[in-house]
C-alpha cells in the first residue's frame, strides 16, 4: 500500500515534469505542432490508470501525454515522439496529440473530440466476445460529452453491459468555452441517467479518491456488472494549448483557487502527514528529473524518420512511393 501510494505520487510527478520540459522545448521550437498539457489534472489521470491491470485497455484524447505515462509507458519513446523522431512511440507520425503506447494497452489517443468513445466500447466488446476479463477505460473531456459519438458509445456499452469505465475529465472548459454554458446539466454524471448507467462524481484533485472510485468501477466491470460513468472534477492550470494566449480567458480568482488544490502538493502533504519522509518524495522527484533529462537526450539524439516512412503503416503492406521523392522508384505502371 505504501509502495502503491508512492507510485501514485511518482507517476503524477512524472507527468508534471515531462510536460514542463516539453513546454520549454516547444517554446524553443524543438517540438513542432501543438502541445496540450494536463497540468493540474494529474490526479484523475494517475488515479484512473493505476486502478487498471497492465493488460486492460485504454483510449485517450488530444491531451494525451499523461495517459500513457500513468499507464506505465516508457518515457523515452514518448519524448522522442514529441520531437518527431523515428524512435518515437508512433515512429514520429503521431506527435503530441497522439502519445499512444499499445504495449501498455493503449488503443489510441485520438484528437478528434469524442471519437475515442466508441473505440473504447469496441475494445470492451472485443474483450467480452473473447471471454477475457479485461476492462476498457476511456478518457474524454467535458466538451466531448456534447458529441454524438459519446452518446452512441454510452448507449452501446449500457445495452451490451460492457466493461467500460467512461472517465470524464471535467476541467470546466473546452478551449475557451465554459462547460456550464454548453452542457445542459449541472454535473456531467447526470448524463448517465439517459442510459441507466451507474455514475459517480469524484474529486479529480484527490488521487486516492479517484483510485478508489475507478477501482470500484473496474471491479464491477470485471465482474460483469457493466459500465460506469465517472466524472472527475478537475482543472487545467495552463492554457488550452501552448502558445494559445489569446484563448486563455481571464479566469480570474478561479484559477487562484484551483492552484491551491494542486493534486501533487495535496498528495505530498497527505503522504507526509501519513508518515512518509519528505526526503523520500524529493528523492523520487530527483530521480524523475534525471529520467526526463535522459529522455530529452534520447529524443534529441534520435534520427528523424526516413522519407519512405511516410508511406508505411497506411496499410499493413507499404503503399507506392512516388518517383519524384527520389526515395525508391514507383514500380507501378
Amino acid at each position: 500500500m505504501k509502495k502503491e501510494r508512492l507510485e501514485l505520487f511518482r507517476r503524477m510527478v512524472l507527468i508534471r515534469r515531462f510536460e514542463s520540459h516539453a513546454e520549454a522545448c516547444h517554446a524553443k521550437g524543438e517540438i513542432p505542432g501543438s502541445l496540450h498539457t494536463a497540468t493540474g489534472q494529474e490526479a484523475e489521470i494517475v488515479g484512473s490508470c493505476m486502478a487498471l491491470r497492465p493488460d486492460d485497455y485504454m483510449v485517450g484524447n488530444h491531451r494525451s501525454h499523461g495517459h500513457p505515462i500513468a499507464k506505465g509507458a516508457a518515457i523515452n519513446p514518448l519524448m522522442a515522439e514529441l520531437f518527431g523522431r523515428s524512435t518515437g512511440v508512433c515512429g514520429g507520425k503521431g506527435g503530441s496529440m497522439h502519445l499512444s503506447d499499445f504495449s501498455v494497452g493503449s488503443l489510441g489517443e485520438t484528437s478528434i473530440v469524442g471519437s475515442g468513445v466508441p473505440v473504447a466500447v469496441g475494445a470492451a466488446l472485443g474483450a467480452s466476445l473473447q471471454g477475457s476479463d479485461r476492462v476498457s477505460l476511456c478518457f474524454f473531456g467535458d466538451g466531448a460529452t456534447n458529441e454524438g459519438a459519446f452518446h452512441e458509445g454510452m448507449n452501446l456499452a449500457a445495452i451490451w453491459n460492457l466493461p467500460v469505465i467512461f472517465l470524464c475529465e471535467n476541467n470546466l472548459y473546452g478551449v475557451s468555452t465554459p462547460a456550464a454554458e454548453v452542457i445542459s446539466v449541472k454535473d456531467i454524471a447526470e448524463r448517465g441517467a439517459a442510459y441507466t448507467m451507474r455514475s459517480e462524481i469524484v474529486d479529480g484533485q484527490d488521487v486516492d479518491a479517484v483510485f478508489d472510485v475507478v477501482g470500484a468501477a473496474v471491479s464491477r466491470a470485471r465482474a460483469g456488472e457493466g459500465p460506469t460513468l465517472v466524472e472527475a472534477k478537475t482543472y487545467r492550470f495552463a492554457e488550452h494549448a501552448a502558445n494559445m494566449g489569446r484563448v486563455l480567458l481571464e479566469r480570474g480568482p478561479e484559477l487562484e483557487e484551483w492552484l491551491k488544490r494542486d493534486p501533487i502538493e495535496l498528495y505530498r502533504s497527505k503522504l507526509i502527514a501519513g508518515g512518509t519522509a519528505a526526503d523520500d518524495l524529493l528523492a523520487i522527484e530527483t530521480e524523475i528529473e534525471d529520467e526526463i533529462i535522459a529522455s530529452l537526450d534520447f529524443a534529441r539524439n534520435s534520427p528523424y524518420p526516413e522519407q519512405s516512412e511516410a508511406f508505411t503503416d497506411v496499410f499493413t503492406e507499404p503503399v507506392p512511393i512516388p518517383a519524384w521523392l527520389n526515395v525508391v522508384e514507383d514500380g507501378d505502371g
Binding site: A123, A149, E152, L156, D313, G333
Partner: protein, 324 residues
C-alpha cells in the same frame, strides 16, 4: 460450381468466414432478421453474440467495430445502405482509416464495412448515393466494388481475411444477377487486381460495379458492328490496378471510363486522369466518361432512370471515340 445470386454470394462469403474463424463476427441494424437475405440461418449457426443487432448508431457501432478489431476481432459491419455511412464518417475517416498510421503501425484494424448502393429504384436523393469516390481520397481504406456474384464472394472473403479496413460497396442493381461461383471454401479473389472481363482491340471500356454489366452488353452489340471492345473491371478501387488498365489502353489506344457515381471526382475521373497522365502517347482519341451527372437523384422513375450509365450511353461514347 453453383449458379448463385449476388446476395447469396454475400451470404456464402459471410457464412464461410464466420465458420472458419471465430474472431469474425457480424454487426449492424436488423442483421438478425435477414432483411435482404444475406444472413439466412446465421443466428442459428453462430448465435446472437456473433450476429449482433445494433441500435441506429452508425458512428457508435463503426467505432466499436474499430475498437474490437484493434483487440483481435475481425468485425463485419453491415451498414445496409451506403448513405448511412455519413453519420459514421468521422469514425471511418479519423479512426478506421488513420489509426494504424497515426500510431506508427502499432494498430491493426481488420474490419469490413459493407454497404449496398441502392439506386435506380425511386429511393430518392437520401438513399441513392454511390459514395466510394469520397473514400478513394482517404488513404487507409481498401475499397472493393464487385460486379458479379463470383467476384462478390471472392472479394468479400479476401476482405474479411485482410488485415486492413476494407469497404465493400455492393451494387443493388446486381442483387438478383446470377453467375457460377466456386464452392471451394478458400475461393478468394485478390484485392488490388483488375479483371479483363472481355478482351478486345479497338477501345478499352473501364467500368465500375454495376456498370460492368452494361459495358459487356455494349461490347456485345458493338461486336456486331465490327468494333472490338475490351472491358476492364478494376474490381477494387483502392488499391487500383493501374497496370492492367494502362496495359489495356496502351493496346487499344482508346478509353471510356464508366461509373455510376456522380461525375465530379468520380472513379471514372480518377481513371481518366491516370490514363492521360501515363498513357498519353498511346491515345488516339479523347477519354470519355459515362457517369451520373452532377445532380441529385429524383424519386420519379421516368426522370431518375435515364441519369445512370446504360449500354446505349456506352455505345454512343464508343462510337464517338472510334470516329475521332
Amino acid at each position: 460450381m453453383a449458379n448463385v445470386s449476388f446476395l447469396e454470394a454475400i451470404r456464402q462469403a459471410q457464412f464461410e468466414e464466420l465458420s472458419r474463424d471465430e474472431n469474425v463476427f457480424l454487426m449492424g441494424e436488423d442483421v438478425r432478421c435477414n432483411v435482404f437475405g444475406t444472413t439466412t440461418g446465421f443466428v442459428e449457426a453462430f448465435g446472437k453474440a456473433r450476429v449482433r443487432d445494433t441500435p441506429i448508431s452508425e458512428a457508435g457501432f463503426v467505432g466499436a467495430a474499430a475498437g474490437a478489431s484493434m483487440v483481435g476481432m475481425r468485425p463485419i459491419v453491415d451498414l445496409t445502405i451506403a448513405t448511412f455511412a455519413y453519420p459514421a464518417m468521422d469514425q471511418i475517416c479519423s479512426i478506421v482509416a488513420k489509426s494504424r498510421y497515426l500510431y506508427g503501425g502499432q494498430a491493426r484494424l481488420p474490419l469490413v464495412l459493407r454497404m449496398c448502393m441502392f439506386y435506380g429504384n425511386s429511393n430518392a436523393a437520401q438513399h441513392s448515393d454511390r459514395p466510394y469516390p469520397m473514400f478513394m481520397g482517404m488513404p487507409g481504406l481498401k475499397i472493393i466494388v464487385p460486379s458479379n456474384p463470383a467476384d462478390m464472394k471472392g472479394l468479400l472473403k479476401s476482405a474479411i481475411r485482410d488485415d486492413n479496413p476494407v469497404m465493400s460497396f455492393e451494387d443493388g442493381t446486381l442483387w438478383s444477377s446470377k453467375s457460377t461461383v466456386p464452392d471451394d471454401d478458400d475461393f478468394l479473389v485478390p484485392i488490388g487486381v483488375a479483371d479483363v472481363k472481355r478482351e478486345g482491340t479497338d477501345v478499352s471500356v473501364i467500368a465500375v460495379g454495376g456498370s460492368v454489366q452494361y459495358a459487356l452488353a455494349a461490347a456485345e452489340t458493338l461486336a456486331g458492328e465490327g468494333v472490338s471492345v475490351e472491358v476492364v473491371d478494376p474490381r477494387t478501387l483502392v488499391p487500383l490496378d493501374t497496370k492492367t488498365i494502362l496495359n489495356s489502353v496502351r493496346k487499344t489506344g482508346r478509353a471510356i471510363t464508366v461509373d455510376p457515381a456522380h461525375q465530379s471526382c468520380s472513379a471514372a475521373s480518377e481513371i481518366s486522369a491516370t490514363i492521360v497522365e501515363r498513357a498519353f502517347s498511346h491515345l488516339k482519341a479523347p477519354v470519355l466518361r459515362v457517369t451520373t451527372p452532377d445532380t441529385h437523384l429524383p424519386f420519379s422513375p421516368p426522370i431518375e432512370k435515364p441519369l445512370y450509365p446504360s449500354p446505349e450511353r456506352i455505345i454512343a461514347a464508343v462510337r464517338k471515340v472510334m470516329d475521332s
